[in-house]
């Protein structure tokens, strides 16, 4: 077991493309850290550099206090689970799991004991003598995990280990991963593009975008205090709504209506460098759950913004409902949001108007295609600088 420190690590490919740009991340011993981001953000490259499968262009990587930049993967004592599982097809499950130990020239009895122990933990005992081709997807995935835990390495590296499983199995294996990490207490770095996995699994999450670490924090921190528009839009499902706003006469004018800033927001606006430069436009972010049906008890008499819209689509999930509506009055635009739309594949879908989603209580009587009055908790709003994409309330560290 060991801690892993990335100290100004940069990866530049021979063709000049910058895959990872000045990454700083310190992973404590026994910590479970998730690297999350859209495809091509450099998260897998980062993991490969930790594993030693990619060279580090500049910066320093330390595992257990030792600089390992120039060590071959075999000398780093880390185990990795691949997205494709990468099981050796010509070996039985037993041989697959014991391969690393047999390379390390451990005695045969010890290998057998360790493999059988790991097989018991992963419920693979009866499959030990089968070939990977004879196993189901979920079983192959467990063999891949088994191959990693058999060795008791300094750290586990996981490269989207669950993305090839179907939805139900993925949820099941997600708890399995947590269980394994709790049981062995080994440092784990886990790469995923799925923000739900990131939020549910990690002690801490690092959000990457185009090779740069945007923010590192606990899931709660990332959700509650996203440092940038990108993090705010990436974390959470359905995603945060963004609407353009202008500051006029001390009010925030948005397509939803005029909002009078509260104490906290006023302080942020006063401290904003953009205000000094006499710029007036902002991006306002609102999570779906901060909306409510204005007719309901929870929202009645509460201070907040009330507005009337036509609900285009209403999805009833039983526990709550999602109401989708569009707002005239322009779209919030920044490079961050465009990249998010690209990643989600919704570039063509989004028209001129802003699509907003609100999560309402299941008791709501709102119907599709009808006008409805909604309420928004304005205290919960996030304010972003449209040029830098940064949250005015960004944590100082990020």
């Amino acid at each position: 077991m060991a801690d892993i420190v990335l100290d100004h690590v940069t990866k530049r490919f021979p063709d000049g493309r910058l895959a990872v740009d000045d990454a700083n991340l310190s992973i404590a011993d026994g910590e479970f850290v998730i690297l999350v981001g859209p495809s091509g953000c450099g998260k897998s490259t980062t993991l490969n550099m930790i594993a030693g499968l990619e060279d580090i262009s500049s910066g320093e990587l330390r595992i257990g206090g030792k600089v390992v930049n120039d060590l071959a993967p075999k000398d780093r004592d880390i185990a990795m689970v691949f997205q494709s599982y990468a099981l050796y097809p010509h070996m039985s499950v037993r041989k697959n799991m014991g391969f690393a130990l047999s390379l390390a020239k451990r005695p045969k009895e010890e290998i057998d004991r360790l493999v059988e122990e790991a097989a018991r933990v992963l419920d693979l005992t009866e499959h030990l003598d089968r070939r990977p081709a004879q196993l189901s997807g979920g079983q192959r995935q467990r063999v891949a995990m088994g191959r990693a835990i058999v060795r008791s390495p300094k750290a586990f590296l996981m490269d989207e280990p669950l993305s090839n499983l179907d939805a139900k199995l993925r949820v099941q294996m997600r708890t399995e991963v947590s269980r394994i990490q709790n049981r062995f207490g080994t440092t784990m770095v886990y790469v995923t593009h799925d923000q739900t996995e990131a939020m549910t699994l990690g002690d801490r999450v690092a959000v990457l975008r185009s090779g740069r670490i945007q923010q590192v924090g606990t899931p709660t921190e990332l959700y509650g205090r996203p440092a940038t528009v990108f993090v705010a839009g990436f974390i959470g499902s359905p995603a945060m709504n963004f609407v353009p706003a202008t500051v006029e006469e001390g009010e925030l004018r948005t397509p939803l209506g005029a909002i009078v800033p509260d104490e906290r927001q006023r302080r942020l606006l006063d401290g904003w460098t953009g205000a000094a430069a006499d710029r007036r436009s902002l991006i306002v972010g609102a999570r779906p759950e901060h909306f409510e049906d204005a007719a309901l008890e929870q929202a009645k008499d509460c201070p907040g913004l009330r507005f009337t819209v036509t609900v285009d689509v209403l999805e009833r999930l039983g526990s709550d409902s999602f109401a989708y509506f569009t707002l005239a009055g322009g779209q919030a635009r920044t490079a961050d949001l465009e990249e998010l739309a690209h990643d989600a594949g919704t570039v063509e879908l989004s028209g001129k108007a802003e699509q907003v989603v609100a999560r309402l209580d299941a008791a709501s009587r709102i119907r599709e295609g009808e006008k409805a009055e909604l309420w928004l908790d304005v205290h919960q709003l996030h304010l972003f600088d449209p040029d830098t994409g940064r949250n005015l309330d960004a944590p100082a560290t990020a």
């Binding site: 594993a51 075999k74 990795m80 997205q83 599982y85 990468a86 099981l87 050796y88 097809p89 990977p132």
Partner: protein, 295 residues
């Protein structure tokens, strides 16, 4: 030969359940076509076998089945060092060339499939160019060169040109096989603690085995069949291979035609090829990589 006949037969058999009447004609058509092709390729071979069992007197009697069976031709060729020594040369030279071609070819093919290095395209292009080169154009320069440096009429003198022409073939077939093997397997082996050498020997090579066997068979047949280099670059029994040695056969007397012995020798040198192919047929077809990654 066996795969040619059995492969199309599987298609109509599977389809028969669906449309009986149309499939019967299709089956008949396929069978007829197969019979014609198999017949065309087998008749000369069977004729050769028949000739090898005939007595010198009945060689020209034109009957397909020998009137009078004899093993005299076989006894005769195995009694002569001209043939037995040539058989030994053929086996030795072909096996050594095959082994070298597969080992060197795997290394080169692995590098071509996995690594980016300067001059890679040039190397692949050159290999292809050599494979296209007319062999006859090399014979006279090699003849002179080999005599100058003293490897004329030696095993080495034949192994070198065989490698020249079989390596491009080996590199091409093998790199196609290596490209099929998921790169993740090698990364996994490295993370599991393997040196590049161990990763190659214990993970990549076993998976590429079908490719290596296929390559080995192709190279072996090429070396075994070669007549051009064998006749030009040898002069004595020391290194003359069977195809060349057959040309030196003489009849029992000065006036007898050596047709019977030639036929017997031809049958004998066909046997190793048949054994080779039958032995490894299954390995060539087996898709070993199934189940390596998510299927």
């Amino acid at each position: 030969m066996t795969t040619v006949t059995s492969a199309p037969a599987a298609g109509p058999a599977a389809a028969r359940a669906r449309r009986p009447s149309r499939d019967r004609t299709a089956l008949l058509g396929w069978s007829a076509a197969n019979l014609v092709i198999v017949g065309m390729s087998l008749v000369p071979l069977l004729w050769l076998v028949s000739l090898s069992f005939k007595t010198p007197a009945s060689i020209t009697d034109g009957s397909f089945i020998p009137q009078e069976w004899t093993f005299e031709n076989y006894r005769e060729i195995f009694g002569e060092s001209l043939f037995t020594r040539a058989l030994l040369n053929s086996l030795g030279i072909a096996l050594i060339s095959t082994a070298l071609a597969v080992v060197l070819g795997s290394m080169a093919a692995y590098a071509i499939a996995r690594l980016e290095f300067p001059g890679k395209r040039l190397l692949v292009g050159l290999a292809l160019l050599i494979a296209m080169f007319p062999q006859i154009s090399l014979v006279s320069p090699l003849f002179n060169l080999w005599r100058q440096i003293g490897i004329f009429d030696t095993w080495l003198g034949l192994i070198i040109p065989y490698l020249t022409f079989s390596l491009p073939l080996a590199i091409y077939t093998l790199s196609a096989f290596f490209r099929e093997i998921p790169w993740d397997l090698e990364k996994a082996a490295q993370v599991d603690g393997a040196t590049p050498r161990q990763a190659f020997l214990r993970v990549i090579a076993p998976l590429a085995a079908p490719g290596m066997v296929t390559t080995a068979i192709l190279v072996f047949i090429f070396c075994w069949n070669d007549f051009l280099f064998a006749i030009s670059l040898t002069s004595t029994e020391q290194s003359r291979t069977v195809p060349a040695a057959i040309a030196f056969f003489t009849g029992a007397s000065q006036f007898a035609q050596p047709i019977g012995s030639i036929a017997a020798a031809a049958v004998v040198i066909t046997i190793p090829i048949i054994v080779f192919v039958l032995l490894f047929q299954r390995r060539i077809v087996a898709g070993l990589t199934s189940g390596a990654v998510k299927g």
